[in-house]
Structure formats: structure tokens, C-alpha cells
């Protein structure tokens, strides 16, 4: 079984991103970039399927400019077999990413596509579901457990009230939630080996996709600042403030 994993290059999760003073965009100068944490979980899941003998090949794909090859190499160091970059001028919208991934799915015919549930930059939570609709594939989003059973995959999902399990006919889409697994660290020998693994580059035109724009960012601004309040001395003072000043209890 072939598994396709999508990875995205994003600002490292430790970075506190700010809006530029003129409000034109976020300030990403000299900011540390990394693989999106949910995508890392997706790679780990795919590699575990290979180690368990369920998957035969793991392909890591990313959409973006040349810099995203760094994240593809990270996925290869974690255990993916080969990489695909779909070259675009910087970021494109989730709908376009989904169309490009559909093009890759048609080329590679994977039985399972694993993606992160959302990227921590745009916080959109869309791409996996959109790919599912475009490719006519079922989806197990926000997955905390993935079990392959013949031509079916059972996915346990994190939902509002608890957990839900669905059975999906392969080929299927899985998007990862936090508790699916704990990703490994890449070892130095594997990082060296990853540099030699194959990495193909396609353009949107190669995949028959037109890059369109549906949303334009008008401006960005910092959120309303919350002022730090006071420190109370003890529990009595805290209760007094909550009762008599804030009037919330």
C-alpha cells in the first residue's frame, strides 16, 4: 500500500508572530521556519505503517517555493522514501493546494493520504477535507487512531463531545490530531541519508491545475491587547475581588 503524506513549511510554533507596523502583512523576516507540527504527526503515522509492514512506500509532498524542500527533506529523514515538491510562488490557498494534491494523487494512486488537520499559520483546517471532496475519497479527520483492515480503514476521531469511530473505504484521507502519535526525532545518519533520497519537482501546469485566488488579505492587525491585572495576596482577597469588583461569582 502506497501512502502519500502532505507536509507544510510554517513558522516554528515557538515564534510569536506579529503584524507589520503598516498592517500590510505579518512580519516573517528572519523568523525560524519548521515543518507544521500536525504534518510531523502525519509523517510519523505513515512511517509507522511502513514499519508495521502495512505500507510499502511513503511519499512526502509539499506545495510551495523551493524553500519547502527543506521540510520535504525533514520528512525523508523521518523515514519517508521519496519526495515531491509542487512548485508555486509562495503560499497558495487551501482550495488550490487541494487541487494540486489531487493531481499528485492521480499520478501516484496512493491508498491512503495523511495530512495535518490544520497548519498553525493560517489556522484554516480545510485542505484534507477539500482533497477528499475533489478526489471523491472518504475522510477521517482529527484522527487519534488509524487501523487498516483489508480494504477499509477505521479512524477514531476527536469530536466535540469525545471520540467517534468511522469506517472508510480505501483509498481514503486521514487528517491528524495531537494524540495520534508522538513523532520521533531524526537521527543524524538518517538526515544524511535523506539528502540522497529522490525528490521530484512538478509545476501546477504539469498537474493541470490553474492557480486561482478567491480570498485577498486586505490588512492585518494585532489583536486587542489584554492589560495585565493585579496580583492578589491570598485566596480571601481573590474571592473578595471576584465577588465585589468583578461580580462574577
Amino acid at each position: 500500500m502506497k501512502v502519500l503524506v502532505a507536509v507544510k513549511r510554517v513558522v516554528d510554533y515557538n515564534v510569536k508572530v506579529r503584524a507589520k507596523a503598516d498592517g500590510s502583512d505579518v512580519d516573517l523576516n528572519n523568523v525560524k521556519m519548521a515543518i507544521n507540527p500536525f504534518c510531523e504527526i502525519a509523517v510519523e503515522e505513515a512511517v509507522r505503517l511502513k514499519e508495521a509492514g502495512t505500507a510499502t512506500e511513503v511519499i512526502a509532498v509539499s506545495v510551495g517555493d523551493k524553500a519547502c524542500q527543506e521540510q520535504i527533506r525533514t520528512a525523508l529523514a523521518l523515514g519517508a522514501d521519496r519526495g515531491i515538491q509542487v512548485e508555486t510562488d509562495g503560499a497558495v490557498e487551501p482550495l488550490v493546494v487541494a487541487k494540486l494534491l489531487k493531481g499528485v494523487v492521480e499520478k501516484e494512486q496512493p491508498q491512503l493520504v495523511i495530512l495535518g488537520k490544520q497548519s498553525i499559520d493560517g489556522d484554516n483546517n480545510q485542505t484534507g477535507q477539500m482533497l477528499g471532496a475533489l478526489a471523491g475519497m472518504p475522510q477521517g479527520t482529527f484522527a487519534s487512531e488509524v487501523v487498516i483492515d483489508g480494504d477499509t480503514v477505521n479512524v477514531t476521531r476527536e469530536v466535540d463531545g469525545g471520540l467517534q469511530t468511522v469506517a472508510l473505504k480505501l483509498p481514503a484521507i486521514v487528517t491528524t490530531d495531537l494524540r495520534l502519535n508522538e513523532p520521533r526525532y531524526a537521527s543524524l545518519p538518517n538526515i544524511m541519508k535523506a539528502k540522497k533520497k529522490p525528490l521530484d519537482v512538478f509545476t501546477p501546469a504539469d498537474l493541470g491545475v490553474e492557480v486561482t485566488t478567491h480570498l485577498t488579505q486586505v490588512s492585518v492587525e494585532p489583536p486587542a491587547e489584554r492589560q495585565a491585572g493585579i496580583k492578589v495576596e491570598d485566596v480571601d482577597q481573590l474571592l473578595d475581588k471576584l465577588k465585589n469588583e468583578a461580580k462574577v461569582i
Binding site: 513558522v11 510569536k16 508572530v17 506579529r18 503584524a19 487551501p94 482550495l95 487541494a98 490544520q118 498553525i120 499559520d121 489556522d123 480545510q126 477535507q129 477539500m130 477528499g132 471532496a133 475533489l134 471523491g136 472518504p138 475522510q139 479527520t141 482529527f142 477505521n154 476521531r157 476527536e158 469530536v159 466535540d160 463531545g161 469525545g162 471520540l163 467517534q164 469511530t165 468511522v166 472508510l168 473505504k169 481514503a172 495531537l178 494524540r179 485566488t213 478567491h214 480570498l215 485577498t216 488579505q217 486586505v218 490588512s219 492587525e221 489583536p223 489584554r226 495585565a228 491585572g229 493585579i230 496580583k231 485566596v235 480571601d236 481573590l238 474571592l239 471576584l242 468583578a246 461569582i249
Partner: protein, 309 residues
């Protein structure tokens, strides 16, 4: 101009999140219809018809929609939604699952988790864990939107008298099926609807210690939440997680206990009206957003707080 609001419900009851979505829909300025897709969902449809400001309730009562499987429901919404300018839903786990499929079927963008309507085509939404608020303009003729519930007041659940119309359309994609669910049963209010939330973090040390929060939660009729650190450490289940990738809450009172205040956690609670932080580290970032900070060992402070409430 017309707007289709997708109801969040469990067939028997209409969920409160739907009311926040209706308020967001009102800000769009178009006539509002509600779609209730489910099986045996007549009670939910009746409740939707009573919501103030709603024109018409469309009910698709069919077996393939019973468990809100995205593969089936998205086909229905795309079909029914074809006649509307806006398709709007509260950003619940169900809508997050289904609505992007709807958008892709209609070949339009989804505008996720809007927090305000600036004009009929321009919206604000948080990005980067809420560290930045983006204003975005949609150029699609039809707009698929999810709404952050905490940013919009609930519409009145009573006072409306919408007509109810059946939609006779049973889409079964035949590629997915419901196996089962484990839903936490609790007498406490839902996290996203509670007026008081008390959350524990890594400082709680283990799941057993969350009992210290329960007594206080009982007295305040509060929901209990947790930081990602507490979930990752296995103290409590993920559906209790408050934060960027968990639940977004904005209660009247939020009590953060043993939570340092990582930006990912703040993203989920900083719009709360009053924030209390209890932490023994006086330099913890949570104190920068709290109205009342108590530097104390939570194992001393919590029992005292509970006994004096």
C-alpha cells in the same frame, strides 16, 4: 440575497452554537434559512423554527445523515446551498469536518472561523493562534463561512415562527460508515457554552489531581478544561483541551490553574471576560493576561478556595 445556516444538532436537540451562527448570518444582511440534516431530527427542526429571525427551516430527514458523515452531508449542503449566496455554520467539530468539502464541491474558498463581518464580502479572522487578526475579502460569488461562536452573541432561541419544509434528497456516497462513539457523559455545562470555566495545566501533575477542580466546578456550575500540556501528558482526554487546536472559549470567568500560558493556550481563552490565574511561578506568562493573579501552590490554594466559596 439569502443565507443558509447549517444547524448543529444531535437530532433531538438544537445545539447552542447554531444560535451564534444565526447572529453572524444576521450581520450579513440577507434572509436566513436553516438546514437541519439528520435522521429522526424533527425535534431539532422544531427548535430551529423557533429561533428568532429565521425565515424557513429545511429538513433533510434521511438515514445517511444520521451521524453527520461528511461524505454524505456535504453532497446535500452543496445541492441545497446552490440557491444561496452564503452558507454559514458554527465552527464545531462537525462543521469543520463537512464545510470544506462543501466549499470544494462548489469550487469556492472557505472562510474559516470569522470573528466579525465587516461588509458583505469582507471578514475578520484570527491567524497564527490569534496573534494576528487578518481582514480578508472574498471574491467568490458564493461564500462558505464558518463562524467562531465566542465572537457572536447567541440569537434568541424563542420568538421565531419559521415555516418547516422537507427536503427529499438522500445522498449516500457509500464510502464511509459510522462505527461507534464514546461520548463523555457529564452533568456539567459544555465547555464552549459554560459561563465559568476552570482549567488545569501541567502543574496539576496528574489526572487524579483534577478532582481538586471538580469541587470548585460543582459550586460554580463550571465546565472543566485543560491545557494541551495536560492533555499531552495524558492527565485528561483531548475533548477538554482549550487552545488554538482545541476548543475556543470565552466565559464570564476563566480560572487557569497550574497553566503557564503558552500562546497556543491563550489563543483559546483570552477573550474571556475575567481571567484568574493561580500559579506558583510568579513569572508565568499567564499573569500577563490575567485580571487577578494568585502566586500560590495550587495544592494549598484550591482546597482553600473551594471551602470558602
Amino acid at each position: 440575497m439569502s443565507t443558509l445556516v447549517i444547524a448543529e444538532h444531535d437530532n433531538a436537540t438544537l445545539k447552542g452554537a447554531t444560535l451564534n451562527a444565526v447572529t453572524a448570518a444576521q450581520a450579513l444582511g440577507a434572509d436566513i434559512d436553516i438546514l437541519v440534516a439528520g435522521a429522526g431530527c424533527d425535534a431539532a427542526a422544531q427548535a430551529a423554527a423557533a429561533v428568532a429571525g429565521v425565515n424557513k427551516v429545511l429538513v433533510a430527514d434521511n438515514a445517511p445523515y444520521e451521524h453527520q458523515l461528511a461524505e454524505n452531508v456535504s453532497l446535500l449542503i452543496a445541492e441545497v446551498g446552490a440557491g444561496y449566496d452564503y452558507i454559514v455554520a458554527a465552527a464545531t467539530a462537525n462543521a469543520k469536518n463537512t464545510m470544506p468539502r462543501v466549499a470544494a464541491l462548489l469550487d469556492v474558498a472557505q472562510i474559516s472561523e470569522i470573528t466579525s463581518v465587516e461588509s458583505p464580502d469582507t471578514f475578520k479572522r484570527p491567524i497564527y493562534a490569534g496573534n494576528v487578526i487578518a481582514t480578508v475579502k472574498s471574491t467568490d460569488a458564493k461564500k462558505v463561512i464558518t463562524v467562531r461562536g465566542t465572537a457572536f452573541d447567541a440569537a434568541a432561541a424563542e420568538g421565531g415562527s419559521a415555516s418547516i419544509e422537507a427536503v427529499d434528497s438522500a445522498h449516500d456516497a457509500g464510502i464511509s460508515s459510522f462505527v461507534g462513539e464514546e461520548v463523555a457523559v457529564s452533568d456539567r455545562p459544555e465547555l464552549t457554552a459554560a459561563s465559568v470555566v476552570i482549567s488545569g495545566g501541567r502543574g496539576m501533575q496528574n489526572g487524579e489531581n483534577f478532582k481538586l477542580l471538580e469541587g470548585i466546578a460543582d459550586k460554580l456550575n463550571a465546565a472543566i478544561g485543560a491545557s494541551r500540556a495536560a492533555v499531552d501528558a495524558g492527565f485528561v482526554p483531548n475533548d477538554m483541551q482549550v487552545g488554538q487546536t482545541g476548543k475556543i472559549v470565552a466565559p464570564d470567568l476563566y480560572i487557569a490553574v497550574g497553566i503557564s500560558g503558552a500562546i497556543q493556550h491563550l489563543a483559546g481563552m483570552k477573550d474571556s471576560k475575567v481571567i484568574v490565574a493561580i500559579n506558583k511561578d510568579e513569572d508565568a506568562p499567564i499573569f500577563q493576561v490575567s485580571d487577578y493573579g494568585l502566586v500560590a501552590d495550587l495544592f494549598d490554594a484550591l482546597p482553600e478556595f473551594e471551602s470558602k466559596l
